[in-house]
Amino acid sequence: MTLNRRTFTTGVLAGAGALAAGFPRFSIAQAKAKVVVIGGGAGGATAARYIARDLAEKIEVTLVEPSRAFTTCFFSNLYVGGFRSFDSITHTYAKVGAGGVALAHDMASAIDRAKREVTLAGGQRLAYDRLVVSPGIDLKWDSVPGWSEAAAAVMPHAWTPGAQTRLLRAKLDAVKDGETIVMTVPNNPYRCPPGPYERVSMFAWQLKSTGRTKTKIVVIDAKAAFSKQAVFQEGWEKHYPGMVVWMDPKMHGGLKAVDPAAMTVTTDLETIKAGMVNVIPAQWAGKIARDAGLANESGYCPINPESMASTVDPNVFVIGDACVPGDMPKSAFSANSQAKVAALAVRGALAGQQVFPARYANTCWSLIAAGDDIKIGGRYEAKDGKITALDTFVSKPGEEAALRMQNYEESLGWYAGITADMFG
């Protein structure tokens, strides 16, 4: 290795920092820098792979993730609609491990930021020079009166992936023609702004495909407007006339309670007896991030938009759904994009790699019916102290069928692309 000005400077700075903190990590020549990544989802898996790429002799990356197989939330609605198999949205970490990332299949139970150490549920301790935190969201179990973690077995959320997604599909299959389906949707911010409405579309697609068109899907929304609203509503009228009843707070007056035993949903307006209820509760950053003091009063973790470093600790990067993403939505695309900004900052700090200005992008595709796919997206930069949208776009009502079909093809390509980016 040639000693250039940059690696020299980095070494001196890191050494000084380490001494000040009382941990002479860099005192042994050639010691590898240590990176721990918490969470093997859209943000964490991407970050781990991008940090480790071609730098195995300089940086040791450990990915902490309890699951050995990761089922994506993205495209889980397409599983519900019958467009994807469960297997096709489930991925292993085999290639992540083969790509130079050490895997610790465990839960991180604590972060000691002063010591720069992560403790795992199994007791193992992992020291770090830089930490990337991407635990996604936790559900607020008490945000819907009458609902709870136990009640999710009866009224599924399916907002974290896996067993809940299968349960949701099983419940949908059991709905009898003419029974009502109710979905409750939280206020912003939450994971995947268009997700609930794509899910409504996939419910309707399944019902229509199986001759259950007398069933109504009632959406009790906490918001007065939603992502891609004009094109979703146009699509519902076109493909599923009369089947979707979307209610904003002015119409239902507020969600009062759900009753899992009676299978009812009560608003200020009425009590609805349902054949199936999908409760999408309010959310906040994964517990590990909140416990480490990385979140603010919003329940999410503020970051520096130039690097994704936490505003409370420059050695810690928070990416994905757990962060305060400025103008970006909480999406897998965003998490993947943020991961690359964080990865470059980490490589710059620990391996002397040249760091360039943060670039962010997002596109979210949603399927309304077979071949009818819509999209919303944009590009973002660090500006005015946050991740700021520069150019945005959204599908428009009345677009040609060929364009919508092309969107669908594109979404399939995106899924293949991002999952290869995450898992190899």
Partner: protein
């Protein structure tokens, strides 16, 4: 025609070398920009719904991005991305993806 495009490519590469931070940074700069592409365009070069961009002739690569930037080519996602790319950026990306093709 082809000669003109190739010359344009060379000029652009020269521009890239000037605009992007110097020397070996060229490759690093291409890799940095390319990270944005690989969310959708597979680095394996496979087609699964989104066209492969691995191993494309550099002039074609640049021509496609310019067409998105001036909106003569349709696709709102690519138009949005291309709008953020300078000629030098496009040249760095073209060189990066060309090299990636020869590595495989």
């Amino acid at each position: 025609m082809a000669g003109g495009a190739a010359r344009a490519g060379m000029v652009l590469r020269a521009v890239a070398a000037l605009a992007a931070p110097a020397g070996a940074a060229d490759a690093a700069y291409g890799e940095y920009l390319a990270a944005e592409c690989s969310t959708c365009h597979l680095r394996s070069g496979d087609f699964k719904g989104i066209p492969s961009i691995v191993g494309l002739p550099e002039a074609d690569f640049i021509a496609a991005l310019r067409a998105y930037r001036d909106r003569s080519r349709e696709n709102v996602v690519m138009q949005t991305i291309a709008k953020s790319l300078s000629d030098a950026d496009m040249a760095a990306l073209a060189a990066y993806y060309h090299r990636l093709g020869t590595k495989r």
